[in-house]
Assembly symmetry: C2
Homo-oligomer: 458 residues x 2
């Protein structure tokens, strides 16, 4: 294969790391609906958000107009610890699939957090430090965000309190240890350390937890502790903004290679990786400069895009957070316990929800046994053991490449390989032992979640 002109891995130089994040909302005709104050149903103001979030991050959250926002020097320095990340041509996978498609992936797993989450964690920790805070609280599902935030807080000398979804805490005992190496304090959620945690445990004894519950607990602790704020690893506009570094690097690398992708695929839980990966491509699409097929991939067991409602909903189970308009399964929705790994948030980024609603992107859902089959196929030929979350995108990319094989089309496919699966071996073991099953919620299951949607008409 060595005669190929396109290298296996394309690295930008360090001085080519983007110096500005790109804010898709500036180019959206239909802006994402604003966050609402659950009491007044009026758009949340910066003042109202200030007890929960860091000031500069609130400004980014509410910014619908600036297309580019400078990345502070301190964050750029940190980015150089693990960025630029490689854009990989999946020659080995193409060969294994015997497809005419050209497959690329942007690999974000070459850092100890194991995923792209560090891109936003370091930004959020930086702004918290700049504001003179003592520490931050957060939730984590699969554990990648918690690890990333622990690393970022350790770097800036901030205290870090992590509420980890109980099922992940139990499935991934070593994740907690990595966070401890970075000095974080990790509590399985729901817990008895918060009022909301106690309430949830009373209502649902034995629950394995959900991101929605963990968010409620982390927010409660942040708002009741002097010098603390809450930070979130996905869903919010600010997070998609920070993650745009993924897409900007990918686009710059493609431009260097003289290649234009036809199809762009990302897994979607809250939308941070997908939103970051597609950002500059979607920007071109929004400005009418180019067209791309963009596909969100979600678990069939937590199908916010494909089976959710586009409605205002609470971001958390405890209903203490603002309301966001998004594709949602209802803030009370908890994925079946047989669901392995992340992508278990009940809602979806309001930016991505609007783009999906406006027909600017597609969504598919995939079942977990087929996701792990794709993960193993990928690991064996590309040499990277992928995270279950990332493997949703692998599944969809393989499916697209196999369609190309049928039609003979030489499409160029880009997918986001968000991270590695080294802490997901319980799930891999289950799959290898043939003990993994699929679960697709029934319409009745979903109706229960929808019944909890706030009764407002906007």
């Amino acid at each position: 294969m060595s005669e190929n002109k396109i290298p296996y891995k394309t690295y930008l130089d360090e001085n080519e790391i983007p110096t500005k994040w790109y804010n898709m909302r500036a180019d959206m005709k239909n802006k994402p609906a604003p966050l609402l104050n659950p009491g007044t149903l009026e758009p949340m103001t910066a003042e109202e958000l200030a007890p929960v979030f860091c000031e500069e991050l609130i400004a980014q959250e509410l910014n619908n107009t600036d297309a580019y926002i400078d990345i502070p020097e301190e964050i750029l320095d940190f980015y150089k610890m693990y960025r630029p990340s490689p854009l990989v041509r999946a020659y080995f996978l193409e060969k294994a699939l015997d497809t005419p498609a050209k497959i690329y992936y942007k690999f974000e797993g070459n850092n100890t957090s194991g995923s792209h989450k560090l891109n936003s964690a370091i930004a959020q920790a930086y702004y918290a430090k700049k504001q003179g805070l003592k520490g931050v609280t957060t939730e984590t599902g699969a554990g990648q965000w918690g690890t990333a935030l622990s690393m970022a807080c350790s770097y800036f000398g901030l205290d870090c309190k992590v509420y980890m979804v109980k099922v992940s805490y139990e499935q991934k005992p070593f994740r907690r240890e990595v966070m401890r190496v970075y000095g974080a304090d990790v509590t399985p959620s729901p817990s008895t350390t918060t009022e909301i945690g106690k309430r949830i445990l009373e209502a649902h004894p034995g629950t394995t937890g959900s991101l929605g519950c963990a968010i409620s607990e982390a927010v409660e602790v942040a708002t009741h502790s002097e010098g603390y704020r809450y930070v979130l690893g996905s869903v919010l506009n600010q997070v998609l903004l920070h993650q745009s570094v993924i897409g900007l690097e990918a686009k710059a690398a493609f431009d260097k290679l003289g290649v234009k992708p036809d199809v762009i695929i990302g897994c979607a839980g809250g939308g941070s990786n997908l939103g970051g990966l597609i950002a500059p491509f979607m920007g071109e699409k929004l400005r009418g400069e180019a067209d791309y097929r963009i596909i969100a991939v979600e678990p069939a067991s937590c199908p916010s895009f494909t089976r959710g409602k586009f409605a205002y909903d609470f971001c958390d189970t405890g209903m203490v957070c603002p309301l966001a308009k998004m594709y949602t399964l209802g803030s009370g929705f908890i994925p079946s316990a047989n669901h392995a790994g992340g992508l278990r948030y009940h809602g979806m980024s309001s930016t991505l929800s609007q783009l999906y609603h406006d027909g600017l992107m597609e969504a598919v859902s995939v079942e977990q046994t087929s996701v792990f089959a794709a993960a193993e196929q990928f690991a064996r030929v590309e040499g990277i053991l992928p995270a279950p979350e990332s493997s949703h995108a692998i599944r969809a990319a393989i499916d697209e490449a196999l369609k190309c094989k049928e039609t003979g089309e030489e499409k160029t496919i880009l997918f986001g390989l968000t991270g590695t699966g080294y802490f997901d071996m319980v799930a891999y073991q289950k799959y290898n032992d043939g003990e993994m099953s699929d679960y697709i919620p029934t319409d009745e299951d979903l109706e229960k979640g929808f019944a909890g949607l706030p009764k407002i008409d906007l």
Copy 2:
């Protein structure tokens, strides 16, 4: 820090991956002593080695004359999956230590085996496949070699049977799962699947195993199974040869940067990483072209270089393998069970042993709590959670950099960061819980090992 001319990470281009391995022995005046047939005490011939090892690998093992050996195209293709590996300038660590020293590390952990072991695994699997074999057997300690070999065998469609040192098998349950993802068959050693395993279990019930035991079992299975050979991840000349890709890349990157290291530091268990890292630098030293201070770092609990004897010894506990002249603690030596992680081999590469004997390199031993302290300090500033093995080199590099701080010397230090510690969280947990202790064998402990040395006078 962005005004620095030297980047954080230096990547060579893919077409700059070395196309030849470098064989230090060709430039050694005093060649390493030959392997001996334990029956005749004569040098082992290729014919005698053929039932155990692959043909081409035997040729490499016995080759003391060719300085450069071509890397086959198929192996170069595979190398492109994860190579070139970055040469990293440890700006963050330098700042944390407030040292005038310039610290670099060659990072080999950005692949799913988690270490440099893949460099030799893919070569050995290739030659096994080329010989038309069905499969290979091996031992693994910390699990990195087993994982690497599983990946390599999966790539070439070879069967892979791994004997894993029992204490590691128990401490690292998820390592086994990664190997299973790649289709390998993993057995904790000593086991009842071999005659030698049964004998060892009878003599030492409840033993936590050693690399020496696991080697004996793997060799027994290879020599008793049609179409199988035994492969080894360290110690042997052929392995150091394959690993020279590390040093060759590091040297090429330094040459590009116009930098010459003063001190080169590598951890040493059997010597594969150290031998690979230093290869081209030692070559210059042997040819009188340049001088470098070269330091091997080993655990105080398994101190082959610093407290072992330079003598002919068995490579395995079962005494079925050839005799090698090396620094050894005796083939019956088993490190204290409180020793976490790898670097637990009783002997040392005969090539490195000769170089050490001839005063061409130094050796130090370090205690494990100080190793984990260095590991955490490194993780917090450089963002990579290191393997315990690699952290021995980090410890020594930090110590050297701190000496520079005292003296004001601006030395350039290179160390080998062989891998990541994602599967070593039990050890990190022990350290963080304050439950890790140090153990230095007494002279009496060592005398027991030496008593088992073969009584031959050569």
